[in-house]
Symmetry: C2
Subunit: 232 residues, 2 copies
């Protein structure tokens, strides 16, 4: 029997967006905020190692940190570290801006009737400021790490985002700047679209499974046809 494809609008797949480094130029501020938090806790760690962990779940981040510095952290210390990071990021958030094309891309998708959502490893608090910056309409699903059991590279955030849109995850694209987004996309059985705007290289994203990669949201907007999304 042929599969029933009559209800599928393959030209209107769901699009599930990561936030930091994907829609906002905020990765480097997060990196230096973590550096500041770690220094003030007396934990030395090279900055590039922090960069390579951005976007993954805070719990895993701290665990990887323990491994890389050979230092044990109590649950209390880990919590304090996350709080220090949140404060340090708060002091830098004024410098953060949407990436080129981010708002326009979201508007175009809305106009085309392409359902989209946000799925971020950030907390509700940190995400709130970002959503204001992007003028995200109130009816857009926003899945933060406060809403799921496990953040990236586990698939939960993206699975919940697709569900909130009422779409199959296999009929969704995941757009993200980090290896953790691409790995989570694979685990969720979605195709991952990489953007370079978080400072990972194209080869890194493709090695992690990116189906396609673009410079930033503007570059993605200019190539929507490559995703089979028909613009009018």
């Amino acid at each position: 029997m042929a599969p029933n494809t009559s209800s599928l609008r393959t030209d209107r797949p769901a699009v599930l967006f990561d936030l930091d480094g994907t829609l906002l130029d905020s990765v480097y501020q997060h990196v230096l905020a973590w550096k500041e938090a770690l220094e003030s806790a007396g934990i030395p760690l090279s900055i590039w190692r922090i960069h390579r962990r951005i976007g993954m779940s805070g719990g895993l981040f701290v665990r990887a940190l323990v491994r890389e510095t050979g230092r044990e952290l109590t649950a209390g210390e880990a919590d304090r570290l996350r709080k220090l990071h949140e404060e340090a990021y708060g002091r830098r958030v004024r410098e953060v801006k949407p990436l080129p094309g981010a708002q326009r891309l979201l508007e175009v998708l809305t106009d085309l009737g392409v359902p989209w959502a946000i799925a971020t490893s950030s907390s509700d608090v940190t995400a709130a400021a970002s959503l204001t910056m992007l003028d995200v309409p109130r009816d857009v699903p926003v899945i933060t790490r406060d809403k799921v059991a496990y953040a990236k590279p586990n698939p939960d955030l993206f699975l919940a985002a697709a569900e909130a849109l009422g779409r199959a995850i296999t009929d969704s694209f995941v757009v993200g700047d980090s290896v953790w987004d691409m790995l989570a996309a694979q685990r969720a059985q979605a195709l991952g679209i990489g953007v370079l705007s978080g400072g990972y290289g194209r080869e890194e994203l493709e090695t992690a499974g990116a189906y396609r990669s673009y410079d930033d949201p503007l570059d993605l907007l200019e190539h929507l046809d490559e995703l089979g999304i028909r613009t009018r």
Copy 2:
């Protein structure tokens, strides 16, 4: 006739080091210093695009910038931008530290009788503070962009460094964190050794021609045998 290899000590190749991101954890400070300089000149540019240009010659950096922002800069504006960057970096230099293993690696090479030198796209002024931080002995050749016609990815800096050591460039390794180091190494006919400590990915460095890559100076030190350098 067999080539004369009697004078070659292939276990003691020359090693030509880049500075920022290779021996010092300074790339992210340079990136944000450029961001600050560009903002104050009214030029918007995503931070990852700045990161991807760090380590290349300042002249080429500004040229690439013009291309990416579609904005023309006069020679005077370009000079002012470089000056703004130098000042903004100066305000951050207190945060900069040597990378793990950097000083020890240089000491071990010296003890082994492996000749080494520094070759950086930075100016004399910016490099001076870095050399103090690393306790670089005064008799080590330091080639800055003030000493050659063209900085990286042109081969001049590395060619001059090998010459200053009295060694053939083909008997030298280039150690660097950026694509521009690896491209310059290829042009110079040296083998490039990539380090990830500047925030480029391993795949990016290998695509640009890295013969081998390591996490940082400490990781390189622990694998000197892979370069055929016999430690005692």
